[in-house]
Symmetry: C2
Subunit: 118 residues, 2 copies
DNA sequence: TCCATAATTCGATTATTGTCGAAATATAGG
DNA sequence: CCTATATTTCGACAATAATCGAATTATGGA
């Protein structure tokens, strides 16, 4: 993943309202929710909701599919997983955070970032 | 982690320049880099760099420590790991993404988000 | 004390983003 | 065809964020 793409994805969920929408869809799972349901659950005005759904959809973090008068939105887990992989890749050049080190503990700092195999 | 905190962290790295700074520090590891080194490597003007370092530092994604005339900045792995844990928590209510399912494959969608134990 | 270097703060400008009422579009049903 | 409902688009405004030259602060060495 390119850094510009990653920054766009992060900016998309770097807003309280959009993060709430995205988290709701992640917790809901692949089945997703209708736009109106999202709006009711989170208390967002229709025009504002549409603006944010459009933003999340444009960057590929969610997908929407029309079902008669409703549109069902669901999290795109592939996109999010790619982002997580980017964020955790090449941490510490793979050299600084070996499981065991000689000598006294070098500090309580958490290191490294890791993510399950995809 | 609260959603507002998570959104602030994501917004902080949801900007190309700040993401480049943060990724450079993640790849560098706990040793970190001097501000001037970061500026040289990424080609950022001093005032602009300071603005972004201050932002990342304020939200807790990096830490800076003065060493004589230099300030050494390093990624805060604890903060980032907390953010990753938040993003991957409670995915699909734990019910929709069991390793094996009966019936035909329900689609190629990636599910769920997972992160190593902390 | 004076100078050089590292980094931040200030100030002004420009650009982008978020919100939401009102109007428009899409779909279903009588 | 008309009405009701779901959603988006439009338009205008307010608020926030990003950039960077110039001035300022902090530190070390001659």
């Amino acid at each position: 993943m390119e850094i510009l793409t990653a920054a766009e994805l992060l900016a998309a969920i770097g807003h309280e309202t959009r993060l709430a929408i995205f988290r709701l869809l992640v917790e809901t799972g692949p089945g997703g929710l209708y736009a109106s349901t999202i709006g009711e659950r989170l208390g967002i005005a229709p025009a504002t909701l549409s603006f944010h759904l459009s933003h999340l959809s444009r960057v590929g973090l969610i997908d929407g599919q029309r079902e008669s008068r409703f549109i069902r939105y669901a999290a795109n887990f592939n996109t999010m997983d790619g982002l997580l992989a980017f964020l955790t890749s090449n941490c510490c050049q793979g050299t600084s955070c070996l499981p065991s080190m000689d000598g006294p503990d070098q500090g309580s700092e958490r290191c490294c970032l890791a993510h399950k195999e995809s």
